[in-house]
């Protein structure tokens, strides 16, 4: 059933909508990431456009509904990029739509390069948002260093629309490297793959991607290590890294576009697209990954972030958190039907003290509990 959809075209209209709302609103950017709360849809896609771009200062300001494609197009013309490499969820979730910059920051979406340069939240410099009572709030700014008052920018990043509706974001961008190369280590089991990635990330050679695919599309396990930068530098580091790795595996090399394609597939978790079952995202300490995976018994999975991010497919309705037990990290249910999401909760339940703080913040920023209601709340 199609839900009523509001597409305000100005911040003032967003404010009015929220102030006048008497029922929950499902806050969205492009609606492509599978995180939705109850109620009529409030889409920020009507707030669109880059409002300021200073390549020499590595900063951009854009309205929250600006499509990622438009942002990347503008950056590309100046050989710059969103260095945190936001995932495109459309392939994994099999959905249509136009991902937005507001959605990227609202869901703190980061890709493989997160391990080297930081997450979306680390690049977000400033926000404007309308909170749940209709107040317009700004925090941060458009400079890279800013400790003026509390950092609500970080709080808004990854708040999934539950504290306020972002209307404008400013963020840091970085230069595109001249080239990239990927070393592929073949045939390592998960333990050896994680060890090799840890070893590589512990070198000074600036590995900007470290992922492991235990099945390699039927081709055997592949552990991928990415290097980026000026051509001579990448060549040098590639050789130095090979010499440093003590693993005994066969190595092949992906250059340029081939390397780019391989990492896009990792970023978008393509290996789990068009499969049956639920998909979970586990954030953990990299060295814990092998034994966490062993607890689940699943073999449909991909490791990114040197082992710190596991994407895993399990049978529909299966409670993966029960398999994992207590660990340093959390598991998020990314792809499942509505019933499973309600039963298992999308986000990992928090420890009591933290949950109290979270609930306190939510009740202050959205006193009526109307913004993406239920999405980040514990079950029951």
């Amino acid at each position: 059933m199609a839900r009523e959809k509001h597409t305000p075209s100005s911040e003032a209209e967003v404010r009015e909508l929220i102030a006048d709302a008497d029922a929950p609103l499902s806050v969205q950017g492009g609606g492509t990431r599978g995180f939705a709360g109850a109620g009529e849809v409030l889409s920020v896609s009507g707030l669109s456009g880059v409002t300021l771009y200073e390549p020499g200062a590595l900063t951009m300001v854009a309205r929250a509904g600006t499509p990622i494609s438009e942002i990347e197009g503008a950056l590309g013309q100046n050989n710059q990029r969103l260095a945190f490499e936001p995932m495109d969820h459309r392939t994994l979730l099999g959905v249509q739509g136009d991902p937005t910059i507001g959605g990227v920051f609202g869901a703190n979406v980061s890709g493989p390069r997160r391990i080297a340069v930081g997450a979306a939240r680390d690049f977000l410099l400033g926000v404007r948002f309308v909170d749940g009572s209709g107040a317009v709030v700004k925090n941060g700014g458009r400079v890279m260093k800013n400790v003026t008052g509390y950092d609500l920018v970080k709080l808004m990043a990854g708040s999934f629309g539950t504290l306020g509706v972002m209307t404008e974001v400013s963020f840091k961008v970085l230069p595109q490297p001249e080239t990239q190369t990927t070393l592929v280590l073949h045939g390592l089991d998960i333990g050896a793959g994680v060890a090799a990635m840890s070893q590589a990330l512990g070198t000074p050679f600036e590995v900007t991607g470290a992922a492991h695919d235990p099945n390699g599309a039927g081709d055997g396990a592949r552990t991928m290590l990415r290097l980026e930068g000026f051509e001579g530098s990448v060549g040098y580091r590639c050789g130095a890294l090979r010499d440093r790795l003590a693993h005994g595996a066969d190595i092949s090399v992906l250059e340029g576009e081939e390397s780019e394609t391989a990492w896009r597939k990792v970023r978008d978790v393509e290996m789990l697209a068009e499969t049956q079952g639920d998909v979970w995202r586990i954030s953990c300490k990299p060295s814990d990954a092998p034994h966490l995976i062993a607890r689940t018994g699943s073999d449909q999975l991909q490791l990114d972030w040197g082992g710190g991010l596991i994407w895993m497919q399990v049978p529909e309705g299966h409670d993966l958190r029960a398999d994992l037990g207590d660990f340093d990290g959390h598991a998020t249910l990314v792809r499942a039907d509505a019933k499973t999401k309600t039963e298992l909760a999308v986000f990992q339940p928090e420890a009591a003290g933290v949950a109290r703080l979270t609930a306190g913040l939510r009740s202050r920023f959205d006193p009526r509990g109307i913004l993406n209601a239920g999405l980040m709340e514990p079950i029951g």
């Binding site: 400079v143 890279m144 800013n146 003026t148 008052g149 709080l155 000026f230 530098s233 040098y236 300490k285």
Partner: protein, 478 residues
């Protein structure tokens, strides 16, 4: 600087508070003699002093929790303190407060190279975090100038930066987890060895909250493998504007130096007189440092020099040895000391978009003439974090006030240019009353709502960050 009137009810209960504190802490960890509490009367913003009622030096998270429970029950304000190096008065006591110093908590709890992290107690100094891992080829990236003395606790409170954050980020980008004691004594753990928040990003909220949300006793920090090498190049220009354009061109060219430092003529002259680093006498000097293997450094510096030459530098000097590198950095690192030799100074850290650098420097020059106070500029140009040093004479009546008025005007200018009041030092008491220059009432209200949730009694680090008038209702109600 206006501070709240000390609460007579609290002052009258001093003996009772002390005796309760002595029940949970050893005698030498409870400082209540008026001659001794004086040691905690200020931090590095020495213009303002006020001895606390009591100072305590707990040695564990449990002891911190015990102290806070007592203070919470007795309604006593608590001022957390790392090493007391805040330039913003972030650890300035009130007369009715308990200073909670974490200096006795400085252990390394865990080093984990596989996961590239270190867990420390937060009284540990910034530099000694690197010290714990450098023999194994790792380092902790944020490098505030006070890194020899400043504590991780204070770094987290102020979200400290440093010269190398253009590449490595500031504290918040390198902080993975905390153990924190709430004002009521409850201990919470947030984050850890994993890389992102499972719910709301409370870690990001805590970092930079100036000790007003809780007392962080343990921190999990990201450590990085040390680069193979680093080398600076020094360039001098006849004109501030040209130097600014050069910075912008370097960044646009896709080279990402680890540091781009900028000094103007007054600063160059002072440091030359003081440190004899061999700097050229010119209007603007840039130090640009890159990292990597020798060949990589050659390549990057080659590109940077090529760009610099397009701007007709009066000097372009690449380091060819460790000694030369040290010499190039010598002047920059002694800049504050050099200015201090001339006079008392006030150091600001407003941040501006790099593009407005020439305009801001010109205006600062004009204001300097109007106020009749000299100012030298030294700053992190890559990220727009300025450090104007205003010279004044503390012994001359009215000079401090004049200097503060000038400083406030510079910070207003930074905000007007699209920047902010403080890039890395924090608000503390120093910039508290300027917060409404940058933020509208609703913006401050949202920040204070966070404080309400974490510290409903408004007892932690009173009178910092928010203008007293704005927070008055909350402080009184609590």
């Amino acid at each position: 600087m206006e501070m709240p009137v000390p609460d007579p009810r609290v002052l009258s209960r001093k003996a009772r508070v002390v005796s309760r504190l002595l029940e949970v802490l050893p005698a030498d960890a409870v400082i209540h003699d008026e001659r001794e509490t004086r040691a905690y009367e200020c931090d590095a913003l020495t213009a303002y002093k006020c001895p606390p009622m009591v100072a305590v030096l707990p040695a564990s998270t449990q002891e911190v929790s015990d102290v806070l429970k007592i203070c919470h029950a007795e309604g006593v304000p608590v001022v957390p303190r790392g090493s007391g190096t805040s330039l913003a008065g972030g650890a300035l006591p009130t007369a009715d407060s308990v200073i909670l110093g974490v200096a006795r908590m400085n252990d390394v709890i865990e080093t984990d190279y596989d996961n590239r992290l270190i867990r420390v107690q937060t009284g540990r100094t910034n530099l000694s975090v690197t010290g714990a891992v450098e023999e194994d080829g790792f380092f902790y990236a944020p490098d505030p100038s006070s890194q020899l003395a400043c504590a991780i606790a204070g770094n987290i409170a102020m979200n400290s930066g440093g010269a190398h954050c253009l590449k490595y980020g500031v504290t918040t980008n390198n902080l993975m987890g905390v153990k924190m004691v709430m004002m009521d004594g409850e201990v919470v753990e947030i984050g850890g060895g994993h890389l992102d928040a499972g719910g709301l990003d409370l870690l990001g909220l805590i970092c930079g909250s100036e000790g007003q949300l809780g007392v962080v006793t343990e921190a999990t920090l990201r450590i990085l493998p040390k680069p193979e090498g680093a080398r600076p190049v020094l360039m001098g220009f006849d004109d501030n504007e040209v130097a600014g354009a050069c910075v912008s061109d370097i960044i646009k060219a896709g080279v990402l130096p680890v540091a781009i430092e900028f000094m103007d003529r007054p600063c160059i002259e002072a440091t030359e007189a003081f440190a004899q680093a061999g700097y050229p006498m010119c209007e603007a000097l840039l130090i640009v440092e890159v990292e990597g293997s020798d060949a990589e450094i050659d390549h990057q510096l080659g590109l940077i020099k090529q760009i610099a030459r397009r701007h007709n530098p009066v000097e372009l000097r690449e380091s060819t040895s460790d000694e030369e590198s040290a010499r190039i950095w010598l002047g920059r690192k002694s800049a504050f000391g050099a200015m201090g030799q001339i006079n008392d100074y006030m150091c600001l850290d407003g941040t501006i978009p790099v593009s407005s650098l020439p305009m801001v420097l010109r205006r600062i020059g004009e204001m300097s003439a109007q106020y009749g106070l000299k100012v030298g500029n030294v700053f992190h140009a890559g990220d727009g974090n300025m450090h104007p040093l205003i010279l004044f004479d503390a012994n001359k009546p009215g000079d401090l006030e004049l200097c503060e008025a000038f400083g406030a005007d510079i910070l207003r200018l930074c905000v007007e240019a699209g920047g902010c009041l403080t890039g890395e030092h924090g608000v503390g008491i120093e910039k508290r009353d300027l917060m409404d220059v940058q933020y509208a009432p609703a913006d401050l209200e949202a920040q204070m709502a966070v404080k309400d949730v974490f510290d409903p009694g408004w007892l932690l680090n009173p009178a910092k960050v928010f203008p007293l008038g704005v927070s008055e209702g909350r402080r009184r109600a609590a």
